[in-house]
């Protein structure tokens, strides 16, 4: 890896005189950029852990002895376990339809898939209250049949599905568009069924994009606050996810407990960033390896 990087750096260095800044400018820019990153990204992250451990490890672990904390963790895991697979199936279907075929209204459909990203999370929660709430479209019918959606777990899952809707699709669409359809066509011509083609040809080609999308989708699903806050009803021990539990503890001035639960979410974010970076490096390495192999490689 390092060999490849240093060999890439060589031709750049030769031309550096004309295409870089004086050393003092470089240092100044680097200092300001890293200083900004330190103030806005590193300090808040560090603050989560120091605030959580301010009264020592005993107080820290005390926060997790509460049954409410556990039910919040459980609900967050359940929500993500439903929302992520749903959006994964959708993402693959949407990417297959949009990337592999030409049809009318394709650009419009792609814009619609992105739509939930530009809707405020609060509005995302509100729309489900308007449909399933007591005064909503389906409210009277749901009440007559004793089904609870809003201010209960199904509403939380729905709101989470909405806000994480585009994550996997928008990773896969450009990737599958770039890869084209030649390999799949070859597989079909050679007699593979549609499913075989998907499992053996398409899936291996998109696996990094898929993991990348799932990781980001999962992080958002577990961390969503605004949309879930509108539909949850904040019933302790029943409809509180981890971010909502953090809010309640924080508003009750239980600072250490709030930051202790928050530190779990921060750890999740860090793990997400690590996996994401590893996936990126892996993908780059494969791209470089593919570029090194001659195109008439009989293995393909």
């Amino acid at each position: 890896m390092s060999g490849a990087v240093s060999s890439l750096g060589k031709p750049v260095r030769r031309a550096q005189a004309g295409t870089t800044e004086p050393a003092w400018v470089r240092w100044a820019l680097l200092t300001v950029a890293l200083g900004f990153m330190f103030l806005f990204l590193v300090l808040p992250l560090a603050a989560v852990f120091t605030e959580a451990l301010r009264k020592g490890f005993d107080a820290y672990f005390e926060a997790f002895k509460e049954p409410d904390a556990w039910s919040a963790i459980r609900l967050t895991l359940i929500t993500a376990a439903i929302a992520v697979p749903l959006n994964l199936v959708f993402g693959i279907a949407a990417a297959w339809a949009i990337a592999k075929y030409e049809f009318k209204g394709k650009a419009f459909l792609t814009t619609l898939v992105d739509l939930p990203f530009s809707v405020s999370p609060v509005v995302a929660g509100l729309i489900y209250v308007l449909i399933f709430g007591a005064q909503g479209w389906l409210g009277p019918w749901l009440q007559a049949h004793d089904i609870k959606i809003v201010f209960a777990v199904p509403g939380i899952v729905l709101a989470t599905v909405f806000v994480t809707f585009p994550f996997i699709a928008r990773e896969l669409i450009p990737l599958m568009q770039a890869q084209g359809t030649e390999e799949e066509q070859a597989a079909i011509v050679l007699g593979a069924t549609g499913w075989q083609t998907f499992w053996r040809v398409t899936l291996p080609n998109i696996k990094w994009g898929l993991i990348y999308g799932v990781i980001l989708c999962n992080a958002r699903a577990m961390g969503e606050f605004g949309a879930v806050s509108v539909v949850s009803g904040h019933i302790r021990g029943q409809t509180n996810t981890m971010p909502l539990h953090v809010e309640i503890l924080y508003n009750e001035y239980q600072s250490v407990a709030a930051f202790a639960v928050a530190s779990l979410l921060a750890l999740l974010a860090l793990v997400t960033l690590v996996i994401k970076s590893v996936v990126e490096w892996q993908h780059e390495r494969e791209l470089r390896a593919a570029a090194d192999t001659p195109p008439e490689n009989p293995n393909n």
Partner: protein
């Protein structure tokens, strides 16, 4: 169909529907999209139609609501501007310079995407409050960064940073050094090369990043409410107005304000799409 299969080996024919699954995948995509996104969003519009025009207008132009627009759009605009400046700087440093820990810094840029907004909110508040790590040094000088509009701007800067960095970074990476060398050979100073050669090529990406950071900031809720102080007329953002109306069971009022936000998001989405198309056209030069 079968003709397409036979000619598939031929050079560069337009792909046709040789692959199976078009009806299945497109049908599922449209169905799922309708159930999760389109039908629920249309509920918002239908609910608004139950209001008369006067009621709607009164709901979306109350003094508290107007103050919240000013704060939300103003703070989002300032935050997005700050992000353009520092986002460009961070992207520049990451692409052009080598330094220790570069990969970690690069990975850290995405922290605001990965960190739940509520966590960002309470930790920024802990830093900037009067007794916080940073706040304790600023408060004696009369500088207050939490529980007022300053806090809103700071939270929105945190939220929006990755948008600018991640749109500018790939464009800077693809920029052709030959152009810069040519500019230098022709006698341009480094600053002239930057303003006349480099900046025009990254301007579309910067604008796209600005619009994306702005759009995200306008809708942001979780990180802001902890640090804003949420005083009516002063530091109350528009999403919080919607929540407030909901808590008073004013569903129609909440919906009216939500429609205003939704229309605004649509317009921004269209602008961002147009900007990205422009960027693709600009970047269409041979690699």
């Amino acid at each position: 169909m079968s003709v397409a299969v036979l000619s598939a080996g031929g050079p560069r024919r337009k792909p046709r529907r040789v692959l199976p699954g078009f009806n299945l995948t497109l049908g599922y995509t449209v169905l799922y999209l309708s159930l999760i996104v389109l039908i629920p969003l249309s509920a918002l519009l239908f609910k608004t139609f139950t209001l008369s025009w006067e009621q709607f207008w009164a709901a979306v132009t109350g003094p508290r609501v107007l103050a919240s627009y000013r704060l939300t759009f103003g703070a989002s605009f300032i935050a997005a501007l700050v992000n353009v400046v520092f986002g460009l700087l961070v992207a520049w440093v990451l692409v052009r310079y080598d330094f220790f820990g570069k990969k970690v810094v690069d990975a850290l840029v995405d922290l605001p995407f990965a960190l739940p907004t509520a966590v960002a909110g309470i930790s920024l508040t802990a830093l900037l409050a009067g007794n916080g790590w940073i706040g304790q040094y600023l408060e004696p000088h009369g500088i207050q960064l939490a529980f007022n509009p300053n806090g809103v701007v700071i939270a929105l800067i945190f939220i929006g940073l990755p948008f600018v960095v991640r749109t500018v970074q790939p464009v800077l990476e693809d920029a052709e050094k030959e152009l810069e060398e040519a500019a230098t050979c022709l006698g341009a100073t480094r600053w002239q090369t930057f303003t006349r050669v480099i900046f025009p090529s990254i301007a579309p990406a910067l604008l796209t990043g600005f619009a994306m950071a702005f759009a995200r900031a306008v809708g942001e809720y979780g990180s802001v409410i902890f640090i804003a102080g949420n005083m009516p007329m002063v530091s109350e953002i528009t999403p919080l107005i919607i929540i407030g109306k909901l808590e008073q069971y004013d569903y129609a009022g909440a919906t009216a304000v939500a429609v205003v936000m939704l229309v605004f998001s649509f317009i921004l989405l269209l602008i961002i799409n147009a900007l990205q198309a422009w960027q693709r056209k600009r970047g269409g030069a041979p690699v």
